[in-house]
């Protein structure tokens, strides 16, 4: 969707007009479960999806919907569906596309938690993930089958500094009649524009840079509105009659709004993983400063990656902003304003050196999150990725000698000094 206003204006204003009754300028927190109907006919219209309005906060909530419209606007999409977490967003979108026996082509470089979700838990629903090195476009094309419903990648992978070739992947997905789904969490819509490269769906963990403070869990599915769900018989949730709504066909009735309508009216209704209004509010506050923070995150990250690359205790640094990275060119193409602030460093001392580093730092917080205002450090092999096999860890860029850094907004010289003392002790 073409936007009339610039990105920064939309960060602050999209979805959020002054509240009509009081004039309140900041978005009110509607800490509220349910909404009074005007009369029985109005209630019927709402339940039949014939009118816009609120029924129950499991489906929609006025504070959450402000964040939804803002996310849709920032990504340049038609609509957005917020939910409880990034994992909930992945469940929501896959539920809309998959049926028992369905397949999805998934990047081997996903965040470890997503590899577990796609590889183990989704299997219980009969959804099969075909894990492929998605930077090998021929391998992606070869993995596509009649039962494949989507290609799923991260624009900037967590943690390996891997940049996906979105344009190439979108061509393959659309040639096979399926959507390209891009997790844009670590890049954010400020650094990377998946829809402009042909992606159809974007998912987020808003827990990370969108909120930016490490206060609030959240997820979001943004739909471009450009995928034709009726082009083949693969997407009956959107293109076949929905029994629970008297045989309504989402694609026919809602057109380019079909996916967002479905994700609320069926997805959130039945999966129940709704975003809390308080979390939506915190994330709205964060979104107002997204571009400013991302510029500084990227500036600090490049300085620290450069410092580490020259350090004698470090074998290599996988940051797409470094010329030594094999993803440097893709990074310049897809993330021209900066290549994010989450990357890994490989330690000469192996597993023990990783443990020692996370225990020796003073300013870096040792915890399992990324995309915070604070600098964070993690040894994936002993934490987030410990449920994976050594082979999976290694292919996800999280081997035993790897530490993951999420560079925050502190004074960069202080961060360098902290790493310096931790690496030399």
């Amino acid at each position: 969707m073409s936007e009339q206003f610039g990105f920064e204006t939309r960060m602050i204003h999209a979805g959020s007009r002054p509240e009509a009754v009081s004039g309140a300028r900041q978005t009110p927190i509607f800490q509220n479960t349910s909404y009074v109907f005007q009369d029985v006919d109005h209630a019927a219209d709402l339940f039949n999806l014939q009118d816009f309005g609120f029924i129950y906060s499991r489906l929609t909530n006025p504070t959450v919907s402000v964040l939804e419209e803002r996310m849709a606007s920032l990504e340049g999409g038609r609509g957005a569906t917020c939910c409880a977490s990034g994992h909930a967003a992945q469940l929501l979108i896959m539920q809309a596309l998959m049926h028992p026996g369905s397949r999805v082509v998934v990047s081997t470089k996903l965040y470890g938690g997503s590899i577990t979700q796609f590889g183990k838990t989704f299997k219980k629903f009969g959804w099969h993930g075909d894990f492929v090195d998605t930077n090998d476009l021929d391998a992606v094309d070869a993995a596509m089958t009649e039962d494949t419903k989507a290609i799923f990648v991260e624009s900037l992978a967590n943690p390996g500094g891997v940049v996906s070739d979105l344009e190439g992947l979108a061509k393959i997905a659309n040639a096979h009649g399926v959507p390209l789904i891009v997790d844009n969490t670590l890049a954010t819509p400020y650094l990377c524009r998946p829809f402009e490269w042909g992606a159809d769906i974007v998912v987020h963990s808003t827990t990370k840079y969108m909120s930016g403070n490490g206060t609030s869990l959240g997820g979001c599915v943004v739909d471009s509105g450009t995928f034709n769900w009726a082009q083949n018989n693969r997407f009956p949730s959107l293109a076949a009659p929905e029994e629970a709504y008297h045989g309504l066909i989402f694609h026919e009735t809602f057109g380019d709004m079909a996916m967002t309508a479905y994700l609320h009216a069926v997805g959130l209704r039945d999966l129940g993983a709704s975003m809390a209004p308080q979390n939506a509010f915190q994330t709205i506050l964060g979104s107002e400063t997204l571009s400013l923070r991302m510029d500084r995150h990227c500036e600090n990250a490049l300085k620290i990656a450069t410092y580490l690359e020259g350090h004698p205790a470090i074998t290599s640094v996988s940051y797409a902003g470094l010329k030594s990275s094999s993803f440097y060119d893709l990074g310049q193409k897809y993330l021209p304003k900066g290549q994010g602030a989450v990357f890994t460093a490989q330690l000469k001392g192996g597993f023990e050196a990783g443990v020692k580093l996370v225990e020796s730092v003073n300013l870096f917080s040792h915890l399992a999150n990324v995309g915070d205002a604070r600098s964070l450090v993690l040894h994936p092999a002993s934490t987030t990725h410990r449920q994976l096999t050594p082979e999976q860890r290694s292919s996800a860029g999280a081997g035993d000698d790897i530490v993951r850094l999420s560079i925050g907004l502190e004074t960069v010289e202080d961060l360098v000094r902290d790493l310096d003392q931790a690496l030399s002790t």
Partner: protein, 167 residues
């Protein structure tokens, strides 16, 4: 994506001035998109007159249905076309022919309905034409309702909206 670069003010002016809408292709099936739009527009205070030859003489949502625009025995401001782009041609020509008799000022073609030749004829005859839009979606978009469902309205404003009184 949407056809044409209609300004929000232009759409607002149309939706703010029109009172009676002849909906060509109104369906008696309550699960068809036209029924959704008709019900919504009625709730917002518009009189919607269904036009559908297959339902002529019967009622749709309590409104008498007519077989053609010509058969509507009273004035109406807008023709809302819920038919194919091809069918929109002769419907538009009917609207041009009846414009003075019926007081028609707007021909509105629904989402995905585009007929540029018909639009040019109607505009030459002094009618306002909108194509590839839905009046329900536009009404909701310009009145802050669309965002309730998580949709991108494209509307950005720091002005305080007027609270609407619903009794």
């Amino acid at each position: 994506m949407a056809y044409g670069d209609y300004s929000d003010e232009h759409i607002k002016t149309i939706l703010g001035s029109v009172q009676t809408i002849a909906m060509v292709g109104a369906s008696a099936n309550p699960n068809r998109p036209s029924s959704f739009a008709m019900k919504y527009l009625r709730n917002k205070g518009y009189k919607v007159v269904p036009v559908n030859p297959g339902q002529a003489g019967k009622e749709i949502l309590g409104e008498k249905c007519y077989g053609s625009l010509e058969e509507i025995p009273h004035k109406f401001d807008m023709v809302d076309v819920f038919r194919s782009s091809e069918a929109a041609g002769p419907i538009t020509d009917d609207a041009i022919r009846l414009k003075d008799e019926k007081g028609i000022s707007v021909v509105w073609m629904q989402l995905t309905i585009i007929n540029e030749e018909a639009a040019a004829r109607a505009e030459a005859a002094g009618l306002t034409v909108i194509m590839d839009r839905c009046p329900k979606i536009e009404y909701g978009r310009l009145n802050q309702e669309l965002g309730w469902g998580g949709f991108n309205s494209g509307v950005i404003s720091a002005k305080r909206p007027k609270a609407r009184i619903v009794s």
